[in-house]
């Protein structure tokens, strides 16, 4: 569905943001795009959306070249930016005016989502709080029913109940032929939501693996004494002891702790990737 080959991009000469990046994303999945601030997450999304053009390499999205920004392409890809342009329209008017550009736009679903998000559909978007306006735009993005939805830091500005609601809505929104990429540096917001994890570091994707694959290779556990644990990869101290990542040699089940895993990947990159790459038949591309 999305294929980026050898993509390099720099905003200014000598300061590359993405370098020789290869990425293949398939339909039917929610991808979590993680990375530190400035890692190039937004730039990567903009490349996919055709809003930035690569300096080198090729990008194909749904068989089209994003840089061409053809109408078919723009009707198939929706990018929800971190900061949307202010609009004096109400959510319902915004949907009426902008939704007309998307052939599959679902007005009823939009109204339903606004209700679920507890957003007043008649209030002007620029009179709403940042979080309320963001929820209205998330609802609009989902209601477009486009095949690829890209969300840049969608949970920024949402309160805790709204984040819970966001996870619920997103989990139920994805169709088989759709693909969603959610970029965030608030890693915990994506717990229980994503089924694939992409990690950007050093101007490249260092990990593209499914949550199932990660938990089949790595065991996530809390312990009081990490030194006693066999196959320790990483330990992180907290109020309730240590969150640890262990080699999952016996195939135990555990829940992916996205934040701890992300921290482990940043600090113990080689060890973690080595464990994930042990079986060459795994699903996912690992750096």
């Amino acid at each position: 569905m999305i294929q980026l080959s050898n993509i390099s991009f720099a905003y200014s000469k000598g300061r590359p943001v993405l370098e020789n990046l290869d990425l293949v994303l398939q339909a039917g999945h929610i991808y979590g795009l993680l990375g530190l601030n400035g890692a190039g997450k937004s730039s990567l999304l903009y490349q996919i959306a055709g809003l930035l053009f690569p300096d080198h390499g090729t990008a194909r999205v749904l068989g089209m070249e994003p840089a061409q920004r053809s109408i078919e392409f723009l009707q198939s890809v929706y990018l929800l930016p971190e900061q949307s342009a202010a609009s004096s329209l109400s959510a319902i008017s915004y949907a009426a005016v902008h939704g007309a550009f998307y052939p599959a736009f679902d007005q009823e679903h939009f109204s339903l989502l606004l209700k679920q998000f507890d957003v007043d559909p008649r209030r002007p978007l620029d009179a709403m709080s940042y979080g309320q306006a963001k929820k209205a735009m998330i609802a609009f993005a989902i209601a477009t029913r486009v095949r690829i939805i890209l969300m840049d830091e969608p949970t920024n500005g949402l309160d805790i109940p709204s984040k819970r609601q966001f996870r619920k809505v997103i989990a139920g929104a994805l169709q088989e032929d759709q693909l969603m990429v959610i970029s965030t540096h608030q890693v915990r917001d994506l717990d229980n939501l994503i089924d694939y994890l992409l990690v950007l570091k050093d101007r490249n994707v260092i990990l593209n693996a499914s949550a199932d694959h990660i938990t089949s290779r790595i065991l996530f556990r809390n312990t009081m004494d990490p030194q006693q644990e066999a196959g320790l990869l990483y330990a992180e101290g907290g109020l309730k002891g240590y969150a640890v990542l262990l080699k999952n040699t016996h195939g135990h089940d555990s829940k992916l702790d996205t934040e701890t895993f992300f921290n482990a990947l940043l600090t113990e990159k080689e060890a973690v990737l080595a464990v994930l790459n042990q079986n060459p038949t795994n699903h996912g591309i690992l750096a």
């Binding site: 930035l52 723009l74 009707q75």
Partner: protein
């Protein structure tokens, strides 16, 4: 090039609905501002609001406000959230260009005339009835209207290209570039003509020569060293051919077979500028 009238309609609707507040304020603000300028002119200019004053003030207001509006419309490609929203909208670059130009080149100038002309009527009435000047409303001459349109359109297209091309302070940079271009071209024109033609001036045309002969003005020297210009082949046309003619009155005339050239150049310039705006929008990134 993807182009659909339906999507153009959607873009026009979007532009209208999203900017309704702006248009409402403009509908109030423009006539009030123009009214103030016209009243001040009526009070300080000799003879008040004469028809020689009304036209230039009206045209200057039209040009300046159209320019500002044009800068605002194309300036949205400079603000990241607005730019992102515009570029992501499912419409082609050609459709977005056409909609923006329709608003800035056609709808806004028409809107300006519709809201300002009644104010001009009112101020001329005040100028005559209350201030005491004896003036009437300027006659709208077709050739003046056409000349104004012919200047306004390329000027706004050029401003669109400049606004899309520079990152910051687009309005002021466009103004500076236009002034610099105007001054340079005028200076260069003189320099080039002087280089090629020296002190030559056009000689009389065949018809002028015949007229001179008829009027027995064979020995009239229009300027010392008169000769036809080989470079431009422009000529001097005698204008006065009526009975009771008292002296030579002449004008420089372009050869008739070349008159199509500036017209074609004008349309080519317009098309090139339109193409520049389209390409800038197509290649804009965030």
């Amino acid at each position: 090039m993807e182009f659909s009238l339906k999507r153009i309609g959607l873009l026009i609707r979007l532009q209208w609905i999203e900017n309704q507040k702006f248009y409402a304020w403009a509908m109030l603000g423009i006539p009030v501002l123009m009214g103030a300028i016209l009243i001040i002119s009526s009070l300080i200019m000799p003879g008040g609001l004469t028809d020689e004053n009304q036209g230039p003030i009206f045209i200057a207001g039209l040009f300046f406000s159209s320019w500002i509006f044009n800068s605002l419309v194309f300036g949205k490609y400079k603000s990241r959230p607005d730019n992102l929203k515009s570029l992501s909208l499912p419409a082609s670059a050609a459709e977005k260009t056409a909609c923006s130009l329709l608003f800035t080149l056609v709808l806004f100038p028409v809107f300006f005339c519709l809201v300002t002309y009644p104010m001009l009527l009112l101020i001329v009435y005040i100028d005559t009835e209350l201030i005491g000047n004896i003036n009437s409303l300027v006659e709208i001459r077709r050739d003046y209207v056409l000349i104004s349109i012919a200047i306004l359109i390329p000027l706004l297209l050029l401003n669109s290209v400049i606004t899309l091309s520079v990152r910051k302070y687009a309005f002021f940079k466009a103004l500076a570039i236009l002034i610099a271009a105007f001054v340079t071209l005028n200076f260069l024109n003189g320099l080039i003509i002087n280089t090629y033609l020296g002190n030559q001036v056009p000689g009389p045309s065949a018809s002028s020569r015949a007229a001179f002969k008829d009027l027995e003005l064979n020995n009239v020297q229009i300027q010392p060293g008169v000769s036809s210009s080989l470079f431009s082949q422009w000529s001097l046309e005698l204008r006065a051919n009526y009975p009771g003619y008292t002296g030579p009155s002449a004008w420089v005339k372009m050869p008739e077979y070349n008159e199509w050239l500036p017209v074609v150049l004008y349309y080519v310039l317009g098309l090139l500028l339109f193409r520049c705006v389209y390409l800038k929008i197509r290649e804009t990134t965030i």
